[in-house]
């Protein structure tokens, strides 16, 4: 399948910290070099106050993927999306969206992509329907086609009743759906969503997930940023975890969880309380960190070594224990995320 996005050594360095606003994404918090000492963090530039928001990012996203960029605040997610959507000019490197160089041909690239930003950017001077209609007109679609597609998309997103409504009358969830419907009007090859569900109530969030999944199944390539773990895990085919402008890991959600050997918990229920031998045997299994007995139940804390569960079951049998029940709790993506990005608070 064709590549929807290709980034080569994509880099953005800001001269100084810039305020966060939709089109001009916030760089990571600046960290300055100490006096003559080594740089205090990966974001330090040669000059104090310079911020390296995205650091030599290499990334390939295939057509049809639902791809997630996951990272804490200031990790460089929005700057990356900004560069890919022609709004932030890279300091170095190259990026192609649908085969078009976003730096050399930004206007042409905009015909192949659509961006939904974090804020409600609907045109307040126009009705919901006209927001979609004029969006199509900006992309040169004939009037009749704009009207037809606007009607179809509003119907698809369950917004027909709101077609004549003023934008100010929409709730956050509805506005977000209108934004996505508008973005799809000119049939972009890649749809970018910057934290699409932030600020939405749980119902709206679920509904949006369903809709994104549905349009992705219909063939739409989607790239989204998020810092919600469940969102990344539920929606994305592949995830890139970024921090301090760097790509830390890139895999499927399951692959990420397996790869970092994040902690998992096994709960074994035995026929009888056999603390001594069985627990000892389990603790000898490679990968097991700790086993604690509590009545008929043994709680096992282990890392992600392959074949671990089988080895534990075998060890119980060898020690003469009778296993009644076994449950394994998977490592959470959150554990993976925190392991990679640290627990330090980001403003």
């Amino acid at each position: 399948m064709a590549e929807a996005i290709q980034c080569e050594e994509l880099t953005k360095r800001y001269a100084g910290p810039s305020p966060r606003n939709g089109g001009a994404p916030a760089p990571a918090s600046p960290s300055s070099s100490g006096n003559g000492g080594p740089p205090s963090g990966p974001n330090s530039g040669p000059n104090s106050g310079e911020v390296l928001a995205v650091d030599r990012l290499n990334l390939e996203i295939k057509a049809g993927e639902l791809f997630g960029l996951l990272g804490p605040n200031g990790a460089g997610k929005s700057t990356t999306i900004g560069m890919l959507t022609t709004r932030v000019i890279p300091t170095a490197g190259k990026a192609l969206v649908a085969g078009i160089d976003v730096v050399a041909q930004p206007a042409l690239a905009r015909t192949r992509l659509a961006a939904v930003t974090q804020t409600n950017t609907l045109d307040r001077g126009l009705t919901v329907f006209d927001n979609l209609y004029f969006h199509g007109r900006y992309f040169g679609l004939p009037r009749a086609e704009c009207r037809k597609r606007a009607g179809e998309l509003l119907a698809h997103f369950g917004l027909e009743e709101k077609a004549r409504a003023r934008v100010e009358q929409l709730s956050g969830g509805l506005a977000q759906r209108v934004l996505i419907a508008r973005a799809l009007l000119h049939r972009p090859e890649v749809l970018f969503l910057d934290e699409p569900t932030s600020g939405l109530d749980p119902q709206s969030r679920l509904r949006l997930w369903e809709e994104l999944t549905a349009i992705n199944r219909a063939g739409q390539t989607i790239v989204l940023t998020t810092h919600y773990m469940e969102e990344a895990e539920q929606l994305c085919d592949r995830l890139a975890i970024v921090d301090h402008g760097r790509l830390l890991a890139l895999d499927t959600p399951q692959g990420l969880k397996n790869a970092v050997h994040a902690e998992r918990l096994l709960k074994l229920t035995l026929a009888a309380c056999e603390e001594g031998r069985v627990v000892e045997a389990i603790e000898k299994v490679p990968g097991v960190v700790q086993a604690v007995c509590e009545g008929h139940t043994v709680h096992v804390q282990a890392n992600g070594t392959p074949g671990l569960v089988g080895a534990v079951v075998a060890a119980v049998a060898q020690a003469g224990g009778e296993l009644r029940d076994l449950s394994v709790s998977e490592p959470s993506l959150e554990a993976v995320f925190l392991k990679l990005t640290g627990k330090e608070y980001r403003a």
Binding site: Y14, S18, N21, G22, G23, A24, P25, G82, T85, T86, R87, V88, I89, I100, A104, Q105, P106, A107, L108, R110, T111, A114, A115, T117, T119, T121, L122, D123, R124, G125, L126, D130, N131, F134, H135, R137, Y138, F139, G140, R182
Partner: protein
């Protein structure tokens, strides 16, 4: 920069952007007309109707004759001033809001044209608005002065060139101010900029008459509204003394070019990081 996009497709996008602005304007056409007509109507009512009749101030003592003479000076000035005011508020105020609060310009700057084109369409739409506003002054003044709106049709070419030029200069000034002034300081726009531009813009008096105060006559030359008022006077009241036409055209075209150039560069800087 735009290889692969035809000129035709870019022109379509440009026209669609202007159509959007005019659609928004059309929805508010009545408030727009009232807002536009109010200031020139009240101004001409007080200065060209009330004052001559109560024997005070301009035209005082000359009665109806004084009033008619003053309206001849006043009408082109009020048209120029209204066009400047509409041009500035038609671009600067929406831009400041759209860049800072609502960010609703996002969808338009993602249109498949160089981003400066979006700024240029703002100027074009606002100058159409300003052009209409300029003509609205005529009936407003006519009604307010009890039937005086003296206009000469001797120089149609002057009128047909200077009116659009004034509308464009006002809107280009709006683009410049809207991209240069930070949103937090926009409330200074009226007191510190628009008011001096009006009062020192030869709106209520011909520039030649300022020869009595030479330093002021020289100082006003930096004000683009002076050339707008004087140009319209040359077109609509050619019997009155006015600035030479080369100065009017030369300065208006230069001001337009300089303000557009700076305004569009600033616009691009605002949109791209």
């Amino acid at each position: 920069m735009t290889i692969g996009l035809t000129l035709r497709s870019q022109l379509k996008t440009t026209l669609a952007l202007i159509e959007r602005d005019l659609t928004v304007l059309w929805k508010d056409i009545v408030p727009f007309a009232l807002r536009t007509a109010m200031q020139p109507a009240l101004f001409s009512f007080i200065f060209a109707y009330v004052f001559p009749r109560i024997g005070q101030g301009i035209g005082g003592g000359h009665g109806a004759a004084g009033a008619a003479a003053f309206v001849t000076v006043l009408l082109p000035g009020l048209m120029a001033n209204t066009m400047m005011f509409q041009g500035v508020t038609g671009v600067a105020l929406p831009l400041v809001a759209e860049f800072s609060i609502s960010r609703e310009i996002e969808d338009r700057v993602m249109a498949p044209v160089p981003v400066q084109v979006v700024g240029l369409t703002k100027v074009i739409s606002a100058s159409i608005q300003a052009f209409v506003a300029g003509w609205l002054v005529v009936p407003a003044v006519w009604i307010a002065t009890g039937g005086h709106a003296p206009m000469s049709w001797e120089h149609p070419v002057r009128l047909l060139t200077i009116m659009p030029l004034c509308a464009l200069v006002g809107s280009a000034l709006g683009l410049l101010l809207g991209t240069v002034i930070s949103p937090r300081r926009i409330n200074y726009l009226f007191a510190l900029l628009l008011l001096p531009l009006t009062l020192l813009g030869c709106v209520y008096y011909p520039w030649v008459a300022l020869h009595a105060i030479p330093w002021l006559q020289v100082l006003t030359l930096i004000n683009p509204v002076v050339y707008m008022s004087e140009g319209l006077r040359a077109a609509l009241a050619p019997g009155l003394p006015h600035m030479p036409l080369w100065a009017v055209y030369g300065l208006l075209v230069t001001a337009l070019a300089v303000m557009l150039w700076i305004g569009l560069s600033k616009f691009k800087m605002r949109v791209l990081t």
